[in-house]
């Protein structure tokens, strides 16, 4: 006879610290390599700058120990390493272009880590967020559409997904991503039964009822609206993908995915045939090397040339020419890394993202409440989708868009938002792994009755 005993998972904070030290050591070595290649000596501010990220991540580690001691131990080190590698590449490009973006990015990193810490500190239980479902919706769509406000929105590289206040630029879509994930999770956890159990059947597809279709159509309309008005396929793909994914997880209905894909493809095709700027993007995507496209496909083509120059092992840090590519530190940091770290380096980077996303999804599987599942699943999937949209754009899987690589790319809005996502995932994962409060097991208590009977 076997008795099921309560299991007390270890907190794994020691593992986290070890991995974190490894991540900081790797980032600092890369920083040292850049300095040694450029001038033959360590950068003057090596310990100040190199140590800053370590100290910041260390502080977050302490906050995790204190406020979320059962949190997943891999999330924080992976995010730190990606952030560190991004900082080194941006610093390296600074040297080539005589700019000073790395120190600004470091400030943004600090703000992001502080924001993640604040999430852990202030948000003791993620279920509190359910109360703000509709606040999140209003704020999320508001932020998403903010770049369309005349005078506030800025068009950069043909996409209107920025707002500018004075010299500062911000991509509100990044924050909107989090808010909408909260909204989708909060809304769907309430309506999932209505959505999944009723409705007419068409062949093998169980279709939703018309009135339940409402939110789907609204999300579709918003995505296509973004595509048309902000001219950015990436943002549109990201939001619609996020929505369909969360919807599917909530309802377990394949019909939603089929419908969602049909709607999106239909919308995208219509946009591609109607609007010249979308046509242009598609044309550049399909024929980047055509002589008449050379001026417009310059960035994409130079990115590909850079990656080709890197080959399998890369040119080595500070030994390539990633600065030839316009926006090498933001939109095209993927190709910059590919050039200097090679295919091997990009595989490592992609694997880091795989780890991050996998840990997020595992958190979603592990957590007990439906809202937590949808939130963690949605956030993790949004990171995966964003990586796909950016790297897929650079490597010509899909047309190029204006999104940025999470943690790697230069840009404050993206960095802060992604650290908040890590904060939320840490919070949810803490609840997922934390053992249930122990029941007093008196004589004749419940535990004694739980038996596993082995059948002959």
């Amino acid at each position: 006879m076997a008795t099921v005993l309560p299991v007390y998972p270890r907190t794994r904070r020691g593992v986290e610290l070890l991995l974190l030290l490894l991540a900081v050591a790797l980032s600092m070595s890369a920083y040292a390599v850049v300095g040694l290649t450029e001038t033959g000596a360590l950068p003057a501010d090596f310990f100040l700058h190199g140590g800053a990220l370590g100290v910041l991540a260390g502080v977050l580690h302490v906050v995790v120990r204190w406020r979320a001691s059962y949190a997943d131990p891999v999330l924080l080190p992976v995010a730190t390493l990606l952030n560190g590698v991004g900082l080194v590449m941006i610093h390296r490009l600074d040297l080539a272009e005589d700019s000073a973006l790395a120190s600004r990015q470091l400030v943004w990193s600090a703000l992001g880590i502080v924001a993640a810490g604040a999430v852990l500190w202030l948000l003791r239980d993620h279920r509190v967020l359910r109360r703000y479902t509709f606040t999140a919706m209003v704020a999320g769509f508001g932020l998403l559409l903010l770049p369309l406000v005349p005078g506030l929105g800025k068009t950069i590289n043909g996409a209107r997904i920025w707002i500018g206040v004075g010299p500062l630029s911000f991509q509100p879509g990044e924050l909107a991503k989090i808010l909408l994930a909260v909204f989708f999770a909060g809304y769907l956890v309430v309506h999932r039964d209505a959505l999944s159990l009723t409705g007419p059947k068409l062949l093998w597809l169980q279709l939703p009822r018309m009135r339940d279709l409402g939110p789907l159509l609204v999300a579709w309309g918003a995505s296509v609206g973004v595509l048309v008005l902000e001219r950015d396929l990436g943002t549109s793909l990201l939001f619609f993908g996020l929505f369909v994914a969360v919807l599917y997880v909530a309802t377990e209905r394949v019909s939603w995915i089929v419908l969602g894909l049909l709607l999106f493809v239909g919308g995208a095709l219509a946009a591609a045939t109607t609007f010249s700027h979308v046509q242009q993007r598609v044309d550049i995507w399909l024929h980047p090397f055509a002589a008449e496209n050379l001026d417009r496909s310059y960035q994409l083509v130079q990115g590909l040339f850079g990656m080709a120059a890197g080959g399998l092992l890369g040119t080595g840090l500070d030994r390539g020419r990633p600065d030839i590519v316009p926006y090498a530190e933001s939109d095209f940091i993927y190709s910059s890394l590919g050039e200097e770290l090679g295919l091997a380096g990009l595989f490592a980077v992609l694997l880091l993202y795989v780890l991050l996303v996998e840990r997020g999804l595992r958190t979603a599987v592990g957590v007990r409440d439906g809202f937590g599942k949808l939130l963690a699943g949605g956030l993790a999937f949004s990171v995966a989708l964003q990586v796909f949209v950016v790297a897929g754009g650079v490597t010509r899987v899909i047309p190029l868009t204006g999104l940025t690589m999470p943690f790697l790319a230069y840009g404050g809005s993206s960095l802060v938002s992604n650290w908040i996502i890590v904060g939320l995932l840490l919070r949810v994962s803490d609840l997922a792994r934390r053992p249930a409060p122990e029941e007093p097991a008196g004589p004749g208590g419940d535990t004694g009755a739980t038996q596993v009977v082995r059948l002959p």
């Binding site: 994914a245 599917y248 997880v249 909530a250 377990e252 090397f289 002589a291 008449e292 050379l294 001026d295 310059y298 083509v301 590909l304 040339f305 850079g306 990656m307 080709a308 120059a309 890197g310 080959g311 399998l312 020419r321 030839i324 590919g338 090679g342 295919l343 990009l346 595989f347 992609l350 993202y353 795989v354 996303v357 996998e358 999804l361 979603a364 599987v365 439906g370 599942k373 949808l374 699943g377 993790a380 999937f381 995966a384 989708l385 990586v387 796909f388 790297a391 897929g392 490597t395 010509r396 899987v397």
Partner: protein, 483 residues
């Protein structure tokens, strides 16, 4: 909700697998192609600030040279003669890559060629910035100038070869462009020039002399004659059927002569007379008698179907395959699907002029290192024997008749024997035909072989290669003989 979450993980896995695959594709499988793209200027960036070697013409005049300037690139590529040598030198553009000799000899000009190995070694030891070597062309500036002036503003191309060595003495393609406009470091100006050239319907960037494939028209009759003479069954005086109209088997259509008259009394004409007056029906029937295989083989011996790097890349001229009888008749007079570059047509005359031996055409004579020490001098290369010496002599006699008293009289030069052949190539209903002329001179001791093609050859019936193209060839030949 865990089952869909696991499936979602499957979707995520698929997304990442796609990225692993696409990244591998770009950095591994397609990397070689991407590095070799003509617009890939990474190599150029690596050479920035380096003194790129000049391109010279025969006699030492510089046609492409690095001029020191005060910007990041340190040297601006300039082309002192502008459009005159554009299609030979090509352009060197930071943004749009390279073409022509700039591209074909890039390793020498940039100083990275293996041939400059010892030079590079000493640069390494002495710590000198590597400097590019220079490339001296076979182009003769006098002949090039004459060819350019003779062609004027007309669309077309001129090629002049030294029959004995294969050296290209002149290579002109119209319309041309100014490579300086693309080489400029002013990005906006370069972009405007580039877009302008791309938008131009006449395609100025194409080197028509090596890169355009035309129907060779009646100039191909030299090859048909060669095939006949080589078969051993024909002499210059063998009588051929030359009716006003030739019935083509299998079809209801006919092949006619340009004047619509018989080529000789009773519809009979000798081979030499047929060439002299460019009799279509005689060569059509001759082609059918010889057969498509014989024509194909003879054209290959003159260079058709061969890929050439001179070291400029040359489009491959072709004789069609799987021909039926009427198609063979059309092909025998250089119509149907026969396609040739002006360079190839010049090679036909050159081979005849050189006693039947075809030399490999070439535009680079000497490669020197930065100290002007000769690293490599090209020696003439044979491509093979096109026809026997006897046949070559007979063809020379026949081609002389063309210029002395046939369709090519406008190519006559006072005191010099000229051998040539005219051509008028149809390339579409109602379109003005291409006017051709190919020749060599002096016929007894050839110094130059020429091919001229003019695209807008006047109205449909008035265009004779003899009227438009022969005077151009004459001026080019004179320039060589009088130099």
């Amino acid at each position: 909700m865990n089952r869909p979450l696991r499936r979602l993980a499957g979707v995520v896995a698929l997304l990442f697998l796609t990225l692993f695959a696409s990244t591998t594709h770009v950095q591994f499988f397609a990397a070689e192609d991407l590095r070799a793209k003509p617009t890939n200027s990474r190599q150029l960036y690596a050479e920035l600030g380096r003194d790129r070697g000049p391109i010279l013409v025969a006699g030492g005049g510089q046609v492409a040279v690095g001029t020191p300037v005060d910007d990041a690139y340190k040297f601006l590529r300039t082309y002192p003669s502008g459009p005159l040598y554009a299609h030979v030198t090509g352009y060197y553009s930071i943004r749009y890559g390279t073409s022509g000799v700039e591209r074909a000899q890039n390793d020498v000009l940039s100083g990275t060629a293996d041939r400059l190995f010892y030079r590079r070694l000493s640069d390494l030891v002495t710590g000198r910035q590597p400097r590019g070597g220079s490339v001296e062309l076979t182009i003769d500036p006098v002949v090039q100038q004459a060819a350019s002036e003779a062609l004027g503003e007309r669309k077309g191309a001129v090629v002049a070869l030294d029959p004995a060595t294969g050296d290209v003495l002149a290579m002109v393609s119209n319309p041309t462009y100014d490579p300086n406009a693309l080489a400029t470091h002013d990005a906006a100006a370069a972009q405007e020039a580039w877009q302008g050239l791309l938008a131009d319907e006449d395609d100025p960037l194409t080197n028509r002399a090596t890169g355009a494939l035309y129907p060779p028209g009646s100039t191909f009759k030299i090859i048909t004659s060669a095939a006949a003479l080589e078969s051993g069954d024909y002499t210059a005086d063998t009588l051929l059927d030359g009716p006003a109209e030739l019935d083509l088997p299998l079809t209801s259509s006919t092949l006619g002569n340009d004047e619509g008259t018989e080529c000789g009394p009773g519809g009979k004409v000798s081979l030499i007379d047929a060439l002299e007056i460019s009799c279509n029906t005689a060569f059509g029937s001759l082609g059918m008698t010889l057969g498509a295989d014989a024509l194909a083989e003879q054209s290959e011996r003159f260079g058709f179907g061969q890929e050439l790097q001179i070291p400029l890349s040359v489009a491959t001229s072709s004789f069609p395959t799987d021909l039926n009888a009427p198609q063979t008749a059309q092909s025998a007079i250089g119509q149907f699907d026969v396609r040739a570059t002006p360079l190839q047509v010049a090679m036909i005359s050159a081979a005849v002029a050189n006693g039947g031996v075809l030399m490999e055409p070439n535009v680079v004579r000497t490669v020197r290192d930065a100290d002007l020490d000769v690293v490599e001098t090209r020696s003439p290369q044979e491509l093979g024997r096109a026809v026997s010496e006897e046949t070559a002599a007979t063809l020379t006699t026949m081609m002389r008749a063309v210029v002395d008293s046939g369709t090519g009289t406008r190519a006559q030069i006072e005191g010099v024997q000229v051998a040539g052949k005219t051509g008028t190539a149809q390339h579409g209903e109602g379109l003005p035909p291409y006017a051709w002329f190919t020749s060599f001179a002096p016929a007894d001791d050839p110094e130059v072989a020429v091919a001229v093609v003019i695209e807008d050859g006047g109205t449909v019936d008035s265009a004779y290669g003899g009227r438009l193209a022969a005077p151009v060839a004459k001026q080019v030949m004179e320039a060589v003989i009088n130099r």
